[in-house]
């Protein structure tokens, strides 16, 4: 087909709809659809420099210095030569530029790797291997099992029956369960016939590229007929083909148009609190600068009037100056240039470097490396480190974050006997070890990964205990798991919930192997013997029933009902005959619950044929009824689910991740509040909350809020609040907080987010903040983000969200800091996170060690950095009073250029990369040390004012002591010493000494590197001094290096060293005194702990305080079911049941 054949209306519609035709490249070319190349990189070799510079100058600080540079070029006001600004600016810009370039190179590499993957593409009737990036819209592509999907494409046909294709969407939405896609019949008939496929010329009209993952509408026109397309027929880029040998697809969206790329929204730039504070402070400094310039300009005006006008005999005014007013106008700007170093040019770049360094420590931390998965911790964002030291709220996902989402069949109680504990001869429980694992070699179909330690259960099975057999039989029948057996004997179960999978796997290992199922049969291998049960009905699980049952006809033609469900429910349905057994079993259940295990009761009932037949009729009627179907069904179900005979109970361990309770304990000691936001149901969430210490038994009652509309929610919240504190005060009231510490709250989010509406949300926040533990259940991803936003908005504290699945992405993005657990569920959470690691308990190290260090370092850095620039710059201010406010600087131009860049940069960088007030062991031992960060005690506006005052004091000392020393004084050879250059040298050398001693006082952790940096930069100063003031350089560039010989002439003068010593003493002693007196007069809680640590450090280490793991004493019921509907409906409809045998038979439609 040539382009001219494109239907006219489609040409015009090009803007609103997408039109494409299979196997016709021209269409794609005509509409200029992009090819499948993705580009995440920002720059290329040519545009890097202009683009990067443009971006950098968008930053306020850089723009400021650029403007300053232009000011300096105006000769009338220029008071400093151009290089004093240009050299630091160039250095700063190039450091940032290099960093950006390296980042972009990595992105280029990733893009290249993805774009060059190979895929099979249909070209001229043959499958040819091609690169991903060459794929075009309208191409037909073949995908094989376990291959990632190349582009968004329409499924045409597949190897599976009914042209089904299974995909895993973990990278897209985080869900690990497989999803089914089905091709439409007209294309599925083509199968893998290449001739047919190449001849296929279907035309697709569909919507324009968008980011909606679960929506797609389009129309396929083929052979004159129109077929409706929806998202069930679309394979999305980012999915992986599973359990499907091959499938063919028609490419619809490519590269940047794919839903995956459309979804990868722009990274929202996260700013830390310190960033914001820094911006405010820079603004303050700017205002301060303007005030100073004004004062000096006024001073200049007065001076010019009184003295300068007459001094014109020796220095006439410039011709552009007509009066002292004009002169002071120029002086204002001149001083603006001279005092520019108040706004430190290297502040931002140093902050970036420090954060980068501290991020690398996280990447390098061997204690955050998870060996089993070979994953180190990863700081994906390098700009948030110090925020880690200020976290007040942690929002955690449950599944996969607190728990491993691995269910393990741990114990069971069968007919009153408890199995699962390993007991030695004396009757004591023994800790299990790997070598005690039971060998299931006798069972060829056993799952090798399954482990169990109690030999008595195996003995019971092999001995043929009928109850045990029945128990496992019921486990192998009563479920909605699907099996897959690719290789003979290697069974793979697909379970809706991991609990079910665990139970069926347990039955399998003990010899009751669920092998396969059709819509009407279940095949079980019982102790080696294959038996086929007829599946008569599945009474599926839902949240109200809290149980599920199956009714089967055994090969012996008995009708049996097997039921499993929550103990509270099953107990009421039991036959009176098994009351005593029920009591024993309930005791066992208490044991299980106290260990935090998820329990289920298992029961059965034999139905007589006649009863079943009448029931079956009723069931059929209920199934077909149109209105109130659910209700009618449950009534019918209840008729048969009664008089059950108890078989026993199962206990499944929802395995917590390692160290979760300890971590939670440590974090709460650090006054960090942990809220669990989960989509799971209440019971499981509470159970987990208890087992990982978020709820403790000592806490008072649980408030459960689960109103269906906003009014009831509000009332419930009010009630809770008045219970905690009758006259509901604001939660800032200290008494209130104290009282509230004992409570715990539980919110169950109803389907509609009533609790997150308007004024209710405030009420919710108030109540929640009064409670010690908070759990929100039934949360949608959006609600999770809303809760985070809520806390962020009203509490003004740093929040951290931690999660592992795609449902946590919104919360991770919303929080100040997002942490991704690279665990079981896809990569989505990790890709959107700021920090990623693979175990929850690394969180305490991240926050308490790295976060705390980063925060402390950053605060020390900032206060020192501001101080050193104040001390440096304000000297000019004092000098103005002695030089007719003429914008004469105290220092040599080269000193001004090098001060921030060379002379003082290394020690402060060294401090902010290596300093630690206490080491990591102590930080973890005393989580209370974390508190100052949360309260932002170490650097705030008050601390800044202290820096300013300290800087003013130092600058006063730095100016007036040398002035007094040289004023009216002579050198030892009789020449004068009060010349400008000597004075300048004395002040700048003293300044270097003062700022170096100040940082030496600030550093608490003196490593070799600190010594090297500090002494090194003093050394560098003196070396450069002799170089810059050398005769040689001066001979070469007499107008640039104007201080020849000053160093060697002045450094040997006693006045110089006497002033330096006095200045250092005067600047150092008040600081030492303040540091000593501060904890005495204004003690903070941390001082005591630090004192204790210093005491301990001199004495041998005490054994690290291990938090005692508490055993929850109360019985809590948590039943092991997924909260979603089971596969029941799917199984009975037969749609997803793969069986080769089925293929031949007609498809049993059962509706």
């Amino acid at each position: 087909m040539s382009v001219s054949e494109i239907p006219h209306e489609n040409r015009q519609n090009g803007g609103e709809k997408r039109y494409l035709k299979a196997n016709h490249e021209q269409v794609s070319v005509f509409f200029e659809y992009p090819n499948n190349t993705i580009k995440t990189s920002k720059y290329n070799a040519f545009n890097f420099l202009p683009l990067n510079l443009f971006e950098q100058f968008q930053r306020l600080a850089n723009a400021y210095f650029l403007i300053l540079l232009f000011l300096q070029l105006i000769p009338q006001i220029s008071s400093l030569p151009w290089y004093t600004t240009v050299i630091p600016l160039v250095v700063v810009l190039s450091i940032t530029g290099v960093k950006d370039a390296i980042d972009d190179m990595k992105r280029h590499q990733n893009d290249n790797q993805v774009n060059n993957r190979s895929v099979l593409r249909l070209v001229k009737g043959r499958m040819e291997e091609d690169k991903w990036m060459n794929v075009q819209v309208g191409d037909i592509i073949k995908l094989e099992n376990d291959q990632p999907v190349t582009a968004d494409m329409l499924l045409l046909s597949s190897s599976e029956p009914y042209s089904l294709a299974y995909v895993e969407t973990a990278d897209l939405d985080g869900e690990t369960n497989l999803k089914v896609k089905q091709a439409i019949t007209c294309t599925s008939d083509m199968k893998d016939n290449l001739d047919l496929l190449s001849a296929f010329d279907g035309e697709v009209t569909c919507e324009l590229p968008n980011n909606k993952l679960h929506r797609f509408t389009g129309i396929l026109s083929y052979k004159g007929k129109d077929y409706f397309l929806d998202h069930d027929k679309l394979l999305l880029r980012g999915c992986v083909i599973r359990n499907t040998d091959w499938c063919y697809g028609l490419v619809i969206y490519t590269g940047p148009d794919t839903k995956l790329m459309q979804n990868s929204g722009k990274y929202t730039f996260k700013q830390t609190h310190v960033d914001r504070l820094m911006n405010i402070l820079v603004l303050w400094i700017f205002l301060f600068l303007i005030v100073m310039c004004l004062m000096l300009a006024i001073g200049h005006g007065i001076w010019e009037n009184k003295i300068g006008y007459y001094f014109q005999i020796f220095l006439p005014w410039e011709n552009y100056v007509s009066s002292s007013f004009v002169s002071s106008l120029f002086i204002f700007w001149s001083y603006f240039i001279v005092l520019n170093t108040m706004v430190p040019i290297s502040l931002y770049v140093s902050v970036e470097l420090i954060r980068l360094g501290n991020s690398y420590y996280i990447n390098w931390d061997q204690k955050m490396f998870y060996a089993p998965k070979n994953t180190p911790a990863q700081a994906r964002t390098t700009t948030l480190n110090e925020e880690l030291g200020q976290v007040k709220y942690v929002f955690s996902d449950k599944t996969g974050t607190l728990t491993q989402n691995i269910m393990i069949f741990h114990k069971c109680s069968i007919n009153g006997t408890l199995y699962g504990d390993v007991i030695d001869k004396t009757g004591e429980k023994v800790a299990v070890s790997e070598k005690d694992k039971i060998d299931f070699a006798y069972n060829k179909l056993a799952d090798p990964k399954f482990s169990f330690y109690d030999k008595t259960l195996v003995e019971a099975v092999t001995k043929g205990d009928p109850w045990v057999h029945l128990f496992f039989l019921s486990l192998s029948l009563c479920h909605t798991v699907m099996s897959e057996e690719k290789v003979e004997g290697e069974l793979v179960y697909q379970a809706q919930s991991p609990d079910e999978g665990a139970l069926v796997t347990a039955a399998r290992n003990f010899g009751f192997v669920f092998r396969s199922r059709t819509s009407e049969t279940i095949t079980v291998v019982e102790m080696g013997e294959t038996r086929v049960y007829q599946l008569l009905a599945i009474l599926d699980f839902n949240n109200v029933r809290k149980r599920m049952s199956v009714i089967v006809r055994t090969p012996e033609n008995r009708v049996m009902l097997f039921c499993k469900g929550a103990d509270t429910i099953i107990c009421e349905l039991l036959h009176p005959a098994c009351i005593s057994l029920c009591d024993v079993t309930l005791e066992h259940l208490d044991d299980f619950a106290s260990e935090g295990l998820r329990t289920l009761m298992v029961a059965y009932r034999e139905l007589d044929n006649k009863f079943f037949r009448t029931w079956s009729v009723k069931h059929g009627e209920a199934c077909l009824s149109l209105d109130n179907r659910e209700k009618k069904l449950s009534i019918v179900y209840e008729e048969v689910e009664k008089d059950l005979m108890l078989l026993g109970a199962t206990a499944i361990e929802d395995k917590l991740q390692d160290g979760v309770p300890e971590t939670v304990m440590t974090l709460s000691k650090a006054k960090i509040k942990i809220w669990v936001l989960t989509g799971d149901k209440q019971e499981t969430a509470v159970n987990i909350a208890y087992s990982c210490n978020i709820f403790e038994d000592e806490m008072d009652e649980v408030f459960t809020v689960k109103g269906k509309d906003s009014e009831t929610v509000r009332q419930e919240l009010r009630k809770a609040r008045s219970k905690m504190k009758p006259d509901s005060l604001l939660d800032s009231d200290p008494v209130n907080i104290f009282l509230a510490k004992k409570h715990k709250a539980l919110f169950t989010m109803p389907e509609e987010a009533h609790a997150l509406e308007g004024d209710v949300e405030l009420e919710l926040l108030r109540v929640a903040c009064m409670c010690k533990g908070v759990i929100c259940c039934r949360m949608t991803p959006l609600q999770k983000a809303q809760v985070v936003e809520l806390v962020k908005r009203y509490k003004k504290v740093v929040t951290l969200a931690i999660g592992d699945g795609a449902n946590d992405v919104s919360m991770i993005k919303a929080a100040h800091i997002g942490v991704g657990i690279s665990g079981q569920e896809g990569m989505q959470a990790m890709l959107n996170s700021d920090f990623a690691f693979s175990q929850f308990y690394y969180l305490q190290r991240l926050i308490l060690v790295h976060g705390r260090w980063s925060y402390n370092r950053m605060c020390k850095f900032l206060s020192y950095f501001f101080y050193k620039n104040f001390a440096f710059t304000l000297v000019h201010f004092w000098y103005a009073f002695f030089n007719g406010f003429s914008a004469q600087t105290v220092y040599d131009n080269w000193f001004i250029t090098c001060y921030n860049l060379i002379y003082t940069s290394l020690p402060v960088l060294g401090m902010s990369l290596f300093d630690q007030d206490v080491n990591d062991t102590w930080s973890l031992c005393f989580p209370e040390l974390y508190e100052p960060g949360q309260l932002n005690l170490y650097f705030n506006k008050k601390e800044f004012m202290k820096c300013l005052i300290h800087g003013i004091y130092s600058s006063l000392v730095l100016f007036f002591i040398p002035m007094g020393a040289v004023y009216n004084s002579e050198r030892s050879d009789g020449k004068e010493i009060s010349d400008y250059q000597s004075f300048s040298l004395i002040v700048q050398t003293s300044l270097i000494w003062v700022v170096t001693t100040q940082i030496a006082l600030k550093i608490t952790y003196w490593t070799v590197i600190s010594h090297f940096f500090i002494w090194g930069s003093l050394g560098i100063y003196f070396c450069l001094l002799f170089l810059l003031y050398s005769d040689g350089l001066c001979q070469m560039f007499p107008n640039v290096f104007q201080f020849p010989g000053v160093a060697r002439n002045t450094l040997n003068q006693p006045q110089m060293w006497l002033s330096i010593v006095l200045i250092v003493v005067l600047c150092m002693l008040p600081v030492i005194g303040y540091q000593f007196l501060k904890p005495l007069f204004w003690p903070v809680s941390v001082d005591k702990i630090l004192k204790r640590i210093h005491y301990c450090m001199k004495h041998p280490l005490p054994p690290p305080i291990r938090p005692r793991r508490r055993r929850p004493g109360l019985r809590r019921s948590a039943y092991a079911f997924s909260h979603q509907h089971g596969f029941g409906a799917l199984i009975t409809s037969g749609k997803t049941v793969k069986s080769k045998a089925l293929k031949k038979n007609s498809f049993p439609a059962k509706k």
Binding site: F882, G964, E976, P1038, Q1055
Partner: protein, 308 residues
């Protein structure tokens, strides 16, 4: 097997002290004892330094003769620029009651003369002074070239305003090579007085070395007591901008002509440090005592409670 496990841990971070932040280090922590010893020690040091410096400064003999008022007539004359042709001399007699022993230096001292103005300091040409390029006068505004467009040598405001008992401002009457008729070596840019003047002062009040006492014959021990007088050819107008002029004769000590300032500053610092350290000591012990008593009280209260 070993190889495989190493492969599996391919991303294990390096275990170096630097990367694990476990560099061996000295933990600096100021204990009370350390603080007090630092304070007392620096107090002692400063006091001793101060007293020593004061004593040595006192040993200096200094004579300053301010002739702004004495030569008021000349000053008046110079205020009017049209009188620049008229010569005005002024004689200042003075009595040296005590002989000045050792090296004696003579300085001229100016009050309120701003050699440190930004434009003033800048107004010189180092290239010219180094004789690299005599025509390099671009930095010398406002004294770059004469009205005949001939570059000044030396150019610039500093050179132009050179304080010289024999030249007359604002323009040099003599060429640079005739500054010292007595010594042909001491002329041009190498003239001592010129060099001294070109090293601009940091403050508006400054003194500059003018002459040394040539210690021969009668003056071998220094400057004996007696009657002296300075004969000054008054050329330099300063009264217009409230400036003053004087002549200073002074001897030196080991630390040069150190003024009292450093000695006093040291003494005051030392005294303050001592005061501060005593105050801190008192606070420290008071708080310690109170803490001890409260903790005793608390433990007693606790015991009482437990008995109940």
């Amino acid at each position: 097997m070993e190889r495989r496990s190493r492969l599996q841990l391919s991303r294990l971070p390096d275990i170096t002290a630097m990367k694990q932040q476990q560099l061996p280090a000295y933990q600096l922590h100021f204990s009370a004892t350390m603080v007090f010893s630092i304070f007392f020690a620096s107090g002692v040091f400063c006091l001793f330094m101060g007293i020593f410096l004061i004593l040595s400064a006192k040993s200096i003999q200094k004579v300053e003769i301010n002739y702004t008022k004495t030569c008021g007539n000349c000053a008046k004359l110079r205020e009017d620029a049209f009188n620049h042709n008229k010569i005005c001399t002024c004689s200042i007699p003075f009595v040296l009651a005590k002989s000045m022993e050792g090296n004696v230096f003579m300085y001229y001292k100016l009050y309120g003369f701003y050699q440190n103005l930004y434009r003033y300091i800048l107004s010189r040409s180092n290239s010219q002074l180094l004789s690299k390029d005599l025509k390099a006068v671009e930095d010398c505004a406002p004294f770059k070239v004469s009205h005949k467009e001939i570059p000044f040598a030396p150019c610039g405001a500093i050179a132009n305003s050179m304080f010289n008992g024999t030249t007359k401002p604002p323009y040099w009457p003599k060429p640079i090579y005739e500054l010292d008729p007595d010594d042909p070596e001491n002329n041009g840019f190498l003239n001592d007085d010129f060099i001294v003047w070109m090293r601009t002062a940091a403050f508006p009040t400054f003194k500059k070395l003018y002459r040394r006492l040539h210690r021969i014959h009668y003056f071998i021990e220094g400057l004996p007591a007696g009657n002296y007088s300075f004969n000054i050819t008054y050329n330099f107008p300063v009264t217009k901008f409230q400036g003053e002029k004087s002549v200073v004769l002074s001897t030196l000590t080991w630390s040069g002509g150190s003024s009292l300032f450093l000695g006093l500053a040291y003494t005051v610092t030392g005294a303050m440090t001592w005061l501060a350290s005593f105050a801190m000591l008192a606070i420290h012990f008071m708080l310690k005592q109170r803490k001890a008593s409260t903790s005793k009280w608390q433990s007693k209260a606790l015991k009482g409670q437990s008995r109940k």
